[in-house]
Amino acid sequence: MGHSHEDQATDESWKVCIRMRYLEFAVASNFSFLRGASHPEELMVQAVHVGLGGLGLCDRNSVAGVVRAHLAKRERNLPLRYHPGARLVFADGTPDILAYPRNRAGWGRLTRLLTLGNLRTEKGACTLYLEDLLAHAFGLELIAMSGNASLLARLREIAPHRVRLAASMLYRGRDRARLIRLKDHARTAGVPLITVNDVLYHHPDRRPLADVLTCIREKTTIDRAGRKLAINAERHLKPPEEMMRLFRDAPEAVEETLALSDELSFSLDELRYEYPDEQVNGFDNAQDALAHFTYEGAARRYPQGIPDKERANLEHELQLIAQLQYAPYFLTVYDIVNFARSKNILCQGRGSAANSAVCFCLGVTEVDPERADLLFERFISPERREPPDIDIDFEHERREEVIQYIYGKYGRERAGIAATVISYRGRSAIREVGKAFGLSEDTIGALSSSIWGGAGGSVSKDAVTRTGLDPQSRRMRQILSLAQEINGFPRHLSQHVGGFVITRSRLDEVIPIGNAAMDERTFVEWDKDDLEALGILKIDVLGLGMLSCLRKALDLVDEHYGERYTLATIEPEEPAVYRMLSRADSLGVFQVESRAQMTMLPRLAPRNFYDLVIEVAIVRPGPIQGDMVHPYLRRRRGQEPVTYPSKALEAVLSKTLGVPLFQEQAMKIAIVAAGFTPSEADRLRRAMATFKRVGTIGTFQRKMIDGMLVNGYEREFAERCFQQIEGFGEYGFPESHAASFALLVYASAWLKCRYPDVFAAALLNAQPMGFYAQAQIVRDAREHGVEVRPPDVNHSSWDSTLEPGPHAAGRLHTLHHEMRDDIRTTHAVRLGLREIKGLSEKDGKLIVERRSSQISVAYDSMRDVWLRTGLSPCVLERLADADAFGSLGLARREALWAAKALGRVGDRDDDQPLFTSRGNTSARIVSQEPDVRLPPMPIGEEVINDYRFLHLSLRAHPAQFLRTDLDVRGIKQNDSLRRIPSGMRTRISGLVTCRQRPGSANGVVFMTIEDETAVANVIVWPKVFERWRPIVLGARYVTVFGVVQEECGVIHVVADQLEDLTHFLARLADHGADIDGLARCDEVRRPIEEQREARIAGGRHNRLVRLMREIPELAGDLDVSARGSAHAPARRARIS
């Protein structure tokens, strides 16, 4: 970085000059899945290292890796030529042909050719025939990897002077003789010979990994693969001198690589994005249309007239949009949102551009820029020329309608979904490598399940020992190191959850399109980082469970309470809502329901909307790793004065009391304090995400910290800022997203506060989503005074519904007595048939439909249900198991007995052709059975069965039946914790509902257990965990012996001893030991694929440990932000 720009240029051209003796054109990266054994970035760096003049990347029928190599060159300023291309592999026996586009038109042909091959087959495959190439060869330079005279002649005919024949020297015994023959052959065919090394990896040390990939591909083991493995390790990047030595008999073939390179002028930078033309009916151009719609919307938003400040904002934004010609993009977003609104699909935009005044007026977002006090920087920076950022969240259940609308409007040639690169991570890495080494399935299972959350996603030595293997053995060491090496290798492409690429011209001339696994979906080969890096615009059409939940809830409020609310009209800024949240009473509330958030809520005690914005953003890897949480909390409580590092930063940090919390602020600091240009700041951010794999980010670190020191900032502050940017790298949380989310936090909290019945029913109906399972949602609703009634064939719909019921306010659990005046609930929740395990939606809806439509009377017997629905007795047994025949007076066993009797020959009337009855069929009883007196089911067994078939019990908690035994052992009820002073020892027990071990928490396990009285939070430190591992992982019901800790009303028990009492449950009923009350956030049952390698090192490590000792749950959210789409936080998150 020390060179001036001029120095660098001369330096570079000189280097290129001496290097320009050989370029490697046959290079496969690991995007040639299970063949290439190096990342594109590694290949680029190594190419420079060995002194190649350039590199052409050609993966098998794919260009999925070319952008990464392109970026490697661009970001690191690598002195070599780079040519993107593809290796065409044919289905008709034609030898492989490398294709390199000469120019933009050639690129279009290549991508169309690949698209043709992709769409011909199902997902992941590409079927090409020679004919296809002949029809698309325009603008392509071709290298035949081998081939007879007739093939070369045909190629030469359609692409004169653009065909070459490849020659390689790969140490196969007769290389020189072969080379002489090839020379003859090429001369006869009239095509030049060109040197290639058919590269599969950047360095010969990758041979073991390449062999393992072969085993995975061929589904065999390393010991059995034999000749399927490569005979030697020669297919790596070799220096020009070496290539010239190998080809001393044909130096012209080496020189031909330069000649070819000179023909190729195409660069990926040419794929400039073109916005689609939007319908501008009645307007001169898109800008006019946008202005019109904006002011139309503004008139709606401000019926009293647009305030001056807002008008000025709008003017300014519209002017900027005009200047950058982004109007069509805004119109596209507007159109999609309008479509959703016309179909009554709830949606909300987020992202910096989404929270502009224009978008507020267009109705893209409900976040009033005024209310959120947003936008310390304007929403688009003209100098960055980055495409505007708008993600739109839709109800997750109805997003497909929106997707199909987009396909329908733009056509498949112009719209496609971005790809997601599915990579080998932690578990899948050890699984595949283990298989290749012939480990048995259960050993692999044991090894891979030992990977929990973080720890770099690798198997620890202890885990190996525990499976009975020796971690020091040569073989095990190889397995572990190869699993580490394959970590991060792309495995296949999948469709992104909702990133849409829309273009004006043909999309397939920009990127190859392929079929997705889902019907009716097509996706492009590049992921969102690739697209963004090339400046290709995408619109994120995401599904959000909470929006489904909110729509259902608003509909229920309308139906049962006669009040029609929208997201915009929910009563704003009600103190009752903030009071509730400050008590950490947030189960089910969007974004703030995790254990970490629940710990933070009482500390932060949000009082207004902007506090919620902060709440959403603060429990994130960025602020936590940057050690920003504590200073903020101290300043907020007035324990520390609010100071600013400098006057310049006061403007940036004033809203967050001088502590940077948002991604925008971190970037702004780099610009304001360290003198980065905006585009440098952006590159810094991207470097964190994209360039972990290869190079270091050390240069950025130096530049930033040095820059800040020069400008007079303290080193410690500078380092923390940099660490925060590191944390933001992949999971940064911008203020603009936090604001959109905060709106949903408020809306859901408002519903929970005012109408807990509605909220619970809507949550249940929107499952699966969020952190909790049905059992926890129902428990919470009941604690808020809501009566919950069991599912029943005569009362339930498929979804949970509301029935007139008692006033909830009078039935509150003591925990929530403060809410007596806030709750408006006057209905009970009737659980829907959807809660019954194993009942299909089709069958469930049939029961409801036949009950209400056909005869419109309630079912009067099991036979009646059976005859009217025609469901198989098996289905009715499921209903009986779930005890859904209560309204017929049938207990669980009786119902089962009755259901078992169905389906005998002659029972149904149409089985009796001889005695067809024309009477009232449903009421007719075929034969009178003797009565059978079944033993009544003990209540404990009923509860166990409720859990087994309904996931929850409304009767009692299993712990209740164990209480006598628990008392004998001196085990206290969980609600006693609130009366035990902090620091005392106690012994509690409960059904395990959740276990989390965030990677960043150094192996601390957070367990949540519940008994009949309350939920308790347990912390298990790593030493204790190792000692009691089988219990932590295996027990369904545990006793915990430990020390009580209390802070800000949040209570934990720090465990030092655990005991498995699962066998107590088995005493209640046969399958008692099998039940579980696990929440959705449990990581043992529902492992999170490791998304992010832990990058904790050095001093930060210690600070983090200290912080976590105080607020252990924070660590939870370091990983939580990486979880599934329902809580996908930010545009940078890789959502699988």
């Binding site: 140490y171 196969r172 015994g173 007769r174 003789a177 072969r178 010969p204 041979r207 073991p208 062999d211 390393i222 010991d223 059995r224 693969a225 034999g226 000749r227 399927k228 493995l229 490569a230 005979i231 030697n232 390790a233 020669e234 080494f437 048995s440 399935e441 259960d442 050993t443 299972g445 044991a446 020992t465 525990r466 499976t467 009975g468 040569r474 073989r475 190889q478 198991d881 066993r893 089962l896 007995w897 078992k900 009797a901 005998r904 059975e929 003797p930 059978v932 079944l934 033993p935 009544p936 089911m937 591992r1029 089988p1030 295996g1034 046969d1070």
Partner: protein, 508 residues
Amino acid sequence: MLSLWLRRLSTDRIARSRNSSAPLVVTGRRGNAEIFVAVDDAAERLGLSPGIALAQARAMHPGIDTMPEDAEADATLLESVADWCLRYTPLVACDAPDGLLLDISGCAHLYGGERELVADLSGRLENAGFGYSLAVAGTIGAAWAAAHYGKPASHACGEERAILESLPLSALRLQTVTVAGLARVGLKQIGDIIDLPRAPLTARFGSDVLRQLDRALGHEHEPLNPRLPVAPYVAEQRFAEPIAREEDVLAITRRLARRLQFALERRGDGARRIELALFRTDGVVRRIATGTSRPLRDPDDIRELFVERLAALADAFDPGFGFDMARLSVVVAEPCPPEQIGIGGSEDASKLCRFVDRLSARLGPRRVHRLVAQDSHIPELAEAVLPAQAVNGDAGWAGFRQYRKETKLPPRPLRLLARPELIEAVAEVPDGPPLRFRWRRALHEVIAAEGPERIEGAWWSEHGGPARDYFRVEDKSGLRFWLFRSGLYRDLAQGAGAPTWFLHGTFA
């Protein structure tokens, strides 16, 4: 009826041949998982039981001994116990996998009564080191239930109801689904269903439930299936006049083989091991056995084998006063596809097989070998030496040749040296062929060379070795050699030793 349950059959079998007293479990593969199929008493005391996954249990108890299951050995052991039980009654039935049923009615008095018989049996089982549980009752069902569900004792006829009432329904030997279904409606013990109306029960759970109940209660008869001897392929001939000449023995062998041929053909089997038993008039039995390299049933082929065997025995073939009976048995049979006649290839193959069989019969099967192609790049691992009779078909060389041809790799010598021999060579750096080399003290000047063919070592194996560059070279006198440089100059940087040269074979 006496039901005997050898509850630790597998572990007892293994315990007989081991010294350790560490907890022992037997594991087997079920689906994709390795689970416990049997545990011994010590393991049970640790809380282990069949059905637990091996990996899971290892995590908790690293010290346990595990053995793979061997169902065949268990069955054999059970059979032998069954045979041994013939001392009590001729009616012994195997109650697979780990029990026996003895019909002792009318036999007990020989031991002085049921009690005494049971005492005798128990004593012997204990001495033999078996864990067991047994019960006597009027019906098979009741005895079985009592033996397996913890009322091991002797019960008089007619007490079945009392025995059964408090036992779980699974004691009726019902399918597990049925038992589970009954449990779900609250019917868990046999007593729960004894007095229930029969029709509704049958309607819901099938007729099996009540049939098993009736059998156990003695309302319905349950037949016992005593063990039958396994029918092997056996043909025998008695002679009025004893025979003694070798020709006669061979002739009779052929005749017996002809009879076996029909039986074998009917079942589509062929013989892999045949035994000829010659019964001498003085009671001595001579047994001559021979193996075959492929399933065989042609009488002439079989005769030929015995020609060689008898020739090899020569002296030991001592007819004495002659044989009065001959028995030819197929000891091991294997499915043998119907033979096609008249296609040259298969005839050649069968000629080779015949040749191998004859050589093996004369020289001994361990002395006749074939080279079999193996799937490896590394030359000495690419072939294996196996007893010729164990090799079927073309020994894999077709695939080898196909591979070399497709990948255009140069030919290799027909035979390799037993192990590569170190030579001194002068060669071009880094990857040139040797210019001259000294092998077994003779100096060879290289005039022509082809190569290198670079073969990397097996990195995953302990004995992988370094990479090799193979060359085909010809010296001045026209001798052609296959030699290689072991180790690459490229690896010198990583601390490898300097390359050395080896000679690995010669071309004819």
